[in-house]
C-alpha cells in the first residue's frame, strides 16, 4: 500500500522538482527567499541600497551588519555541534571577553596586543569547556552550563559590577568602521568564514570533526585523537565568540556584562540547525549555517521594519522558525505532500 514511500530515494521514479526538494540547500534558501518576498510587499524600499556619507546603506546591508556577531558565534557552534557537542556558554564568553578587552584598554595597552590577549581569553574559555567535555567526560550541555552561569559573574567581577565604557579608534574601526564603503565587520566575518573553510574543508580536519561526532569510539580506533579534536572544537568556538565579543563591545564602546551577548546561544544553535547541522553530531555545514543566520537576522530586521509592535517579535520568530523546521523535515514533506500526491493520482 505505502511501499512506494518506503523505497530508497534512488529507486523512486526521477522527478525534477522532487530531486531539487531533496537537496540540502533547497529548503533553507526557499525559506530565506519567502521571507524576502514578504518584505518586498510589507516594507517599502526594503531592497534599496544606497551610499550615505561614504558607506553602504539599506535594509539588506543592515541585515548583514547586525548578523555578523551571530554568524561568528554560529560558525564556531557549527563545529562544536559537528562533534556531537553543544556550547551554551558563548553568550557568557562574549561578556567575559568584553570585560577583559575594556580592562586592558584602560591599562593603556597597545590595541593590537589587546586584540590578541582578548581573543586568547576567548580561546581559554573554550579550552576550559573542552577539558570538561573531553577529559572529565561531562555531558556537553552541563559542562558548558557551568561557564554559562559563572561567566557573567566573572565578567561582572572584572567590571566591578559597572558598565565600563572606553574610547578606542582601533576597536571602533573594526566594529563600526568601513573599508571602501563596506562595513569592516562584514569583512571580518567574511574573512573568518574563508579561513575556517580553508582550515576545515581544504584539510582533513573537518572530516576528523565529523568522524568524532559520528562515532567517537570508531574515530579513536581509526587513529584520530577524539579528545584533541573535541578540545580544539570548543577552543574554536571560544575564539569565534571572542571575536563576536570584540565586535559587540566595539559597537557600544563599553562592556555591559549583564546584557552583552544575552541569548546569542539560542540564535546560534537555531542557525546551525536550520542550516542542516544535526545535534546528533557527525555533520556540519559552514555555508548553510551562514544562510541560517541570514534567515534569523532577516526575520528580526523585517519584524522591526514592518512596524509590528515589538512584543510580537518572539512569537512571530517562533512561528516562522517552526515552519522552516517543518519544511526542512523530510518526514513531514513526505507525509503531508504525499497525501496530496496520492489524492491527485
Amino acid at each position: 500500500m505505502e511501499h512506494a514511500d518506503r523505497l530508497p530515494a534512488a529507486a523512486r521514479p526521477p522527478s525534477r522538482l522532487g530531486d531539487l526538494a531533496g537537496r540540502k540547500w533547497f529548503w533553507p534558501v526557499v525559506a530565506l527567499g519567502l521571507i524576502l518576498l514578504v518584505d518586498a510587499f510589507v516594507s517599502r524600499g526594503f531592497f534599496s541600497i544606497g551610499i550615505v556619507q561614504g558607506r553602504l546603506y539599506g535594509s539588506l546591508i543592515d541585515v548583514l551588519y547586525r548578523g555578523t556577531p551571530i554568524a561568528l558565534v554560529a560558525l564556531g557552534m557549527a563545529v562544536v555541534i559537528g562533534t556531537k557537542g553543544i556550547d551554551l556558554s558563548v553568550g557568557a564568553v562574549v561578556a567575559i571577553v568584553g570585560a577583559v578587552m575594556t580592562y586592558l584598554i584602560h591599562q593603556d595597552m597597545a590595541a593590537p596586543w589587546v586584540l590578541i590577549l582578548t581573543l586568547a581569553t576567548g580561546a581559554l574559555c573554550g579550552l576550559w569547556n573542552g577539558l570538561l567535555v573531553a577529559v572529565l567526560d561531562i555531558q556537553p550541555i552541563i559542562a558548558t552550563l557551568i561557564l554559562m552561569v559563572t561567566g557573567r559573574g566573572i565578567a561582572l567581577m572584572i567590571d566591578a559590577g559597572l558598565i565600563v565604557t572606553f574610547r578606542s579608534d582601533f576597536f571602533s574601526a573594526i566594529s563600526t568602521g568601513q573599508v571602501f564603503t563596506v562595513p569592516s565587520r562584514i569583512l571580518v566575518c567574511a574573512g573568518t568564514f574563508v579561513l575556517l573553510w580553508l582550515f576545515l574543508r581544504r584539510t582533513s580536519l573537518g572530516l576528523f570533526v565529523e568522524s568524532v561526532g559520528g562515532n567517537a569510539a570508531a574515530a579513536d580506533l581509526a587513529g584520530i585523537d577524539a579528545r584533541l579534536v573535541k578540545i580544539g572544537a570548543y577552543m574554536l568556538s571560544g575564539l569565534c565568540s571572542g571575536l563576536a565579543g570584540v565586535l559587540i563591545c566595539g559597537d557600544i564602546r563599553g562592556s555591559d556584562s549583564n546584557n552583552a551577548g544575552l541569548f546569542i546561544e539560542l540564535d546560534a544553535i537555531l542557525a546551525v540547525v536550520i542550516g542542516g547541522g544535526s545535534l546528533a553530531g557527525g555533520r556540519f555545514y559552514l555555508g548553510f549555517t551562514v544562510i541560517g543566520v541570514l534567515i534569523i537576522q532577516t526575520l528580526t530586521t523585517s519584524i522591526l521594519y514592518s512596524g509590528v509592535p515589538p512584543e510580537y517579535n518572539m512569537i512571530v520568530k517562533g512561528v516562522v522558525v517552526l515552519i522552516v523546521l517543518l519544511l526542512g523535515s523530510r518526514r513531514f514533506r513526505d507525509r503531508v505532500f504525499g497525501v496530496f500526491r496520492r489524492g491527485a493520482a
Binding site: 561531562i138 552541563i142 559563572t150 566573572i154 559590577g161 540547525v273 510580537y312 518572539m314 523546521l325 517543518l326
Partner: protein, 320 residues
C-alpha cells in the same frame, strides 16, 4: 547492590555531606525552618524538573519549561483580573500545558525533528505569548492566595511544610508510581535505552513520545501554577532560563542526558542541592551578586565531579 541505584546514592551522599558542612559552618542551619523554607522555595522548580526527568529519561530534552512557567503566571494573573478563581484558571492552564506538551511530542515524532530544536521553538512561542498577555507585572489578588500561603503542616522546631512543598512531594510520589509501576514508565526507559530495539519489541513509540512530552508540559504548567500562587503575581520575564535549572536538577539527581538511566526520586535531591547552594549563599550573607554567580558555578562543578568520582570508584570496584 543494583547498579541503577548508584547515581542516586552518590547524589544523596553529596547532599548529606553539603548539608553537614552547612551545619558546621553556620548557626541555625540544621533547623526545620531552613529545611521547610528550602522545600517551599524550590517546590516549583522541582515540580517542573520531575516532568523534565521523564523527557530526559526517554533521551529527549525540554527547553520550554521556563517559558511555560512564565506564561502560566501571566495568564493566571490576567484571568485573575477578569474575576477567575486561581484554582479554575490553574486547571485550565494545566490542561493547556499538557496539550502544548503533547503537540511538541507529536511534532518531534511525526517530523523526526530533534527535541532540542522543537522545544526551543516552544520556548520562543510561549515567551512571546507572555509579552502578548501583558508587558507589566500583574498582581493576583484573589483571597485564595492568602489561604494557600497560610496553610501548612507544622514540622516541630518552628519549621513548616507549606502547601507548595506538599503539592511537590505528592506529585513526586505520583511520578515515581508512573515511572516504576506502569507500562508507560517501562516504555519510557525502553525508548531512552535503545529506541530501535524498543520499536522492534513493540513499544508504541508515537503514543509514548506524545505522552512523555504531555507529561512534561503537565508538570511544568503545574510548576507555573505553584510559582504564581507562591509569588502572587505574573511577570512576562518570570522564570527566564529556569529550564536550565530544571535540567541541572535532573542531571545532579543522577539521570543521564543520554537517556534510559536514572530515577525520578533523584530529581528531588538534585533540586534540593541547588536549593542548598542558594541557602548557603544567603547564610553567608556578604557575597556580591557576581560572587554568588561564580560560587554557584563552582559548586555545580564540584558536585558534578564528586558525583562522577563516586560513581567511577564504585564501577571500578565492581569490575575488579
Amino acid at each position: 547492590m543494583k547498579e541503577r541505584y548508584l547515581p542516586i546514592l552518590a547524589t544523596v551522599g553529596v547532599f548529606v555531606v553539603a548539608y553537614a558542612i552547612g551545619g558546621v559552618a553556620f548557626r541555625n542551619f540544621l533547623s526545620t525552618t531552613v529545611l521547610g523554607n528550602m522545600l517551599t522555595d524550590n517546590a516549583f522548580i522541582i515540580i517542573a524538573a520531575i516532568g523534565t526527568t521523564f523527557v530526559i529519561l526517554s533521551g529527549g530534552i525540554d527547553l520550554s519549561v521556563g517559558s511555560m512557567i512564565g506564561f502560566v503566571g501571566v495568564a493566571m494573573a490576567r484571568l485573575d483580573t477578569l474575576g477567575w478563581h486561581p484554582l479554575e484558571s490553574g486547571l485550565l492552564l494545566i490542561a493547556f500545558g499538557t496539550l502544548f506538551g503533547a503537540f511538541q511530542g507529536f511534532i518531534i515524532d511525526f517530523c523526526e525533528i530533534q527535541p532540542f530544536i522543537i522545544t526551543l521553538a516552544g520556548l520562543f512561542l510561549l515567551r512571546g505569548s507572555c509579552f502578548m498577555v501583558t508587558l507589566d507585572s500583574l498582581p493576583i489578588q484573589h483571597p485564595f492566595i492568602g489561604v494557600f500561603s497560610d496553610w501548612h503542616i507544622a514540622l516541630g522546631g518552628g519549621g513548616r511544610l507549606s502547601a507548595s512543598a506538599l503539592v511537590m512531594l505528592f506529585m513526586l510520589a505520583v511520578a515515581v508510581a508512573i515511572a516504576h509501576f506502569t507500562r508507560f514508565g517501562t516504555n519510557v526507559y525502553a525508548i531512552g535505552g535503545d529506541r530501535a530495539s524498543a520499536q522492534l519489541m513493540g513499544v508504541p513509540i508515537r503514543r509514548t513520545t506524545v505522552m512523555i512530552y504531555a507529561l512534561g508540559g503537565f508538570y511544568s504548567a503545574l510548576g507555573g501554577v505553584v510559582y504564581a500562587l507562591y509569588t502572587a503575581s505574573g511577570y512576562p520575564l518570570q522564570a527566564v532560563g529556569d529550564e536550565l535549572d530544571a535540567i541541572a536538577a535532573v542531571v545532579l539527581g543522577g539521570t543521564l542526558l543520554t537517556g534510559g538511566v536514572g530515577l525520578v526520586a533523584g530529581t528531588l535531591f538534585g533540586g534540593l542541592i541547588q536549593g542548598l547552594i542558594t541557602t548557603m549563599i544567603d547564610f553567608q550573607g556578604s557575597l556580591n551578586s557576581w560572587w554568588a554567580k561564580i560560587f554557584i558555578g563552582i559548586l555545580l562543578f564540584v558536585f558534578i565531579v564528586t558525583q562522577r568520582t563516586i560513581m567511577r570508584s564504585f564501577m571500578l570496584r565492581r569490575a575488579a
